[in-house]
Every structure is written in C-alpha cells, then in structure tokens.
C-alpha cells in the first residue's frame, strides 16, 4: 500500500504542476452543464413548467453533475490505449513490481481530486452567492451516499480501463473512442436525466452500469432516494464493479498475449 501511496503523491505533484490542464477539463464539463441548464431554464420558465421537471430540481441536478462530472468521470482510457498499448509504453509497467491496474488507479486519483475541487468550489460559490443547491443532510443517509460516490469512482475507473485495453485488438482506436464517448454522454445522465428519456430506452438506460457512475450518485446526493433505495443502488454498483473487474481480468490476460511490446 505504501508503494501506491508514493505513486499517488508523485502524480499529485504532476496534477499540481499541470493544473491548467485540469482547469481546461473543468471548463469542458462546465460548458456542457451550463448549456443544458440554460436550455431547461427556458423550457421550465415557460408554459410547460412543472409538467416535466422543476427549475430548482434542474439547477441542483446540473450543478451536482458538474461536481460529479469533474470528480467521478475518469479519463484514463486514452492514455491506456494510445500511450501504453499503441506506443508500447506498457512494457515499462510490466517490468515494475506493482500491478498496472493499481498504478493507473492511483495515477488518476489526484487528477480527479484536483478537478473535483474546481467543481466543488464552483458549487459552493453558487450556493452561497445565488441559489442554495438541494442536497440531502439526513445523518442516516450520509454513509450510503458517500459509499455510492466512492463506488461510482471505482466503477467508472473499471469501465474506462476496459475501454482503454480494447486497444490490444485494434490498430486505430480513435473510432472506438468516439463511439465510447457518445455512449457515455448518452447513458450517464450528462445530456439529460435518465428518468426523462423516452420510455423506449428509459428502462435500459436506468439499468446499465454507466448510469451508476454519474446519474445515481447525483440523485443520491440530491436526496431523491429513500435509505432502502440508496443501499440497493450501492449493491447494484458493487455487482457491476465485480462484473466489470472480471471482464477486465479476462481481457487483460488475453490482451497481453496480443501485445507486441514495441508499439503497433
């Protein structure tokens, strides 16, 4: 564990040195969230107000999504696919006395804390200066909500690692990366809260693992769920984590046999 803590500290220095990159990432999410919020403002202040959603709920949802998007949305897949697998840098990791998965996890964590910090500062600033954001404050809810947030990060990490190591089997990863990004935006709740999706895809959208990386954590913090539902969400998250970890292991073992170690 000490080794991983050292890796975390090393990459924390990295994240601090390149904080401008984190700031740009933060802005990418801020723009998306801001635009959708602006759209809903126009809709929910019009004659259709209340029938679909309410403005205070929409504001809370998108502001919490800003923090969740910056803290929970892992961006490791591009580095795994391009730098490590396609350019052959993975060989360096294979020779080192720690697991690749653990290394990547603790490499990513400081970046998420840094970007999440930007999101949190914005959220607190808005709450203090303009509008109080709806969040749950019941003491009995705190433990499951925090567990859901941490589990969402782990789940997103495994999902993105799987996406990244698909590069073992591809020559050009960019098309796949685009498709993955589209699927993530659509099914994580960034574009629209999943309960507002058309009925035909709502059931699927609410059940698939990507929903548990952003959508459910945001609703949990908003205080939408009862305690029983919170524990059920947590249980489902860990079911997905177990399944994705299993899939990752299978793909990793098979992928290493494909890896030529000198880049593709």
């Amino acid at each position: 564990m000490k080794k991983f803590f050292t890796i975390f500290l090393l990459y924390a220095q990295h994240a601090l040195e390149y904080k401008a990159r984190s700031f740009v990432w933060f802005f990418v999410i801020l723009i998306d969230v801001g635009v959708y919020l602006l759209y809903w403002r126009g809709v929910l202040l019009g004659p259709q107000a209340g029938a679909i959603w309410t403005l205070p709920k929409a504001i809370s949802y998108y502001l919490l999504l800003l923090v969740a998007g910056t803290f929970l949305q892992v961006h490791i897949e591009e580095e795994v696919a391009f730098e490590d697998i396609q350019y052959g840098r993975l060989s360096q990791y294979l020779l080192r006395p720690f697991s690749y998965l653990g290394f990547k996890f603790f490499q990513e964590l400081p970046w998420r804390i840094m970007q999440g910090g930007f999101g949190l500062i914005t959220l607190v600033g808005i709450s203090v200066l303009t509008r109080r954001v709806e969040v749950t404050f019941h003491p009995e809810m705190v433990l499951p909500v925090i567990s859901i947030i941490l589990s969402a990060f782990i789940l997103c990490f495994f999902y993105k690692m799987i996406v990244g190591i698909i590069a073992f089997w591809t020559i050009d990863y960019s098309g796949l990366q685009n498709i993955q990004a589209i699927i993530y935006i659509l099914f994580s709740g960034i574009l629209i809260p999943l309960h507002l999706l058309p009925e035909a895809i709502r059931g699927f959208a609410l059940a698939q693992p990507i929903a548990y990386t952003l959508y459910y954590p945001v609703l949990a913090v908003q205080g939408v769920f009862s305690q029983e539902v919170l524990w059920r969400v947590l249980g489902t998250q860990w079911m997905w984590i177990a399944l994705l970890y299993g899939l990752y292991r299978i793909m990793w073992i098979r992928g290493l046999r494909q890896f030529t170690a000198v880049g593709q």
Partner: protein
C-alpha cells in the same frame, strides 16, 4: 494565390491516397464522425422529446436548426478541425520546425494539411435530416434562399476557423494543453442552440459566445425567411475581424516559438 490552389489540389490527392491505403481506418473514422453527427441530432431529439417549444422556437424548428448545424460543422470538421486537433502535437513535438522551413505560409500548412473525408457521411446525414425537416415544416425554399444560406454559411465557417485558430495559437506558449481542442469542441457545441437561449447569459458572457450564436443562427434564419440584416452584417464583420486577428496573432506567436519540444 494560384500556387496555393495547386498545393491544395495536391494535398487533396495525397489525403485521398491515404484514405485508399488505410481503408479500415477510414471506416473507423466514418463510424466516429457519423456517430457524433447522430449524437448532435439525438441530443436535441431527446431534449425536446417532452417539450413542444423552447425560447420561441418550435420543436421542429429546433431540429431543423440542428440539421443545419450538422451541415456547417460537418464541413468544418472535414477541412479544418482535423488539422486543429493535430496542432498541439505539431507544436509540442517540434514538427512545426519542419513546417516553418517549407516555402509556404505556415498558417496555411497547419490549418489545411489534412482532410477528413469520413465527414462526407456526416454532412450527407445532416443534409438528409435538414431536407426532411424542411418537408415537415412545409417550407418553400427558393434558389435565392439557398444562395443566401451558402454565402452566410461560408462566412460562418471563416468565423469558426478564426475563432478556433486564435484560441489554439496559445499552444505555442502552453503546448501541454492538449485538451484545449476538446474545450473548443465543447465551446463550439453551444452554436447548436438558438441565439435567444445564449442571450440569457450575462452581457459579458454573451459577448464571448456571440460569434457562436451568430454562426449557425444567421444561415438558419436565412432559410426560415427571418434573416435580420444587423445579424448578417455582424456575422460578416466578425468573420473579417477574427480572420485578421487570427493571422496577426499567429505571426506574433511564432516569434515566441522556441522550436523542438517547446
């Protein structure tokens, strides 16, 4: 000028050869570009699924608006943004050295070297969707409307290019900001919403997004027969101003380029 047309013709030929050599890559890119095009349309379809109007625009008009966004952005991504995506690498890895010693304009070389032919499918998809929405809205489009649309769309493309180029020129100083391109994609996506929506921002923020607000709104309004002359005039004026600014800023930035791996 004639020389640059000849060079560009050669570049198109080279890009076509690359496409024919790496066909699987091309299919992969087609999937990506069509996917993003579809996503852009799907975004508005989903956002308006339970809504009849927003900011005075009917659902069908918003969909038409996004079809037009798809056409203009498809052309932009085909000829321009593929080069912008590579700019950070060109600067960070020192490839700009090689470009600067070539006997051609460096801005031309970094902006137009690559062509992403896979975006043809995205453009066709957006075009089909736009024609369908025009049919749904029972609009009658005259050749004059189309001519006006093409002229305004060309001005919008110049404006978008200049805006991207001004911001990405900063990579000369901050070449590790590879995600600045993603920021631009995100920033540019604001253009797919009506100007009335962006006008809800505070006046200082609206000034920043005004070029984007006009880029797609003005050509769309030309098709809808709602074109306002001040908007068209502002679009042309901004396109010219940003073009000059992009050109001057690039030349200024090159004085600060510290060569390989800067």
């Amino acid at each position: 000028m004639k020389r640059y047309f000849a060079i560009y013709r050669q570049l198109l030929r080279l890009n076509l050869s690359t496409l024919l050599t790496y066909r699987v890559n091309f299919i992969n890119n087609v999937i990506g570009s069509v996917g993003w095009g579809a996503m852009s349309l799907l975004t508005v379809i989903l956002l308006t699924a339970k809504v009849t109007s927003a900011y005075g625009w009917k659902r069908e008009e918003l969909l038409l608006f996004n079809g037009i966004y798809g056409i203009i952005l498809g052309v932009f991504h085909m000829f321009i943004s593929i080069n912008m995506s590579r700019l950070w690498k060109v600067i960070h890895m020192g490839d700009l050295d090689g470009i600067l010693v070539k006997p051609i304009d460096s801005q031309f070389a970094v902006s137009l070297w690559w062509v992403n032919f896979s975006n043809v499918f995205r453009i066709l998809m957006a075009l089909g969707f736009t024609v369908w929405m025009i049919h749904v809205l029972h609009m009658s489009i005259s050749p004059m409307h189309i001519l006006l649309f093409v002229v305004l769309a060309a001005a919008a493309l110049v404006l978008l290019y200049s805006l991207w180029f001004v911001i990405l020129t900063n990579l000369i100083w901050y070449s590790n900001l590879s995600n600045l391109v993603l920021f631009m994609y995100s920033f540019e996506s604001m253009a797919r919403f009506p100007k009335e929506m962006l006008a809800q921002l505070s006046s200082s923020l609206f000034v920043i997004v005004l070029p984007l607000a006009l880029a797609i709104n003005t050509p769309t309004r030309a098709l809808l027969n709602q074109l306002s002359l001040p908007d068209a005039g502002t679009l042309f004026a901004l396109a010219i101003c940003f073009w000059i600014a992009a050109r001057r800023y690039w030349r200024f930035a090159l004085h600060h380029y510290t060569s390989a791996s800067s």
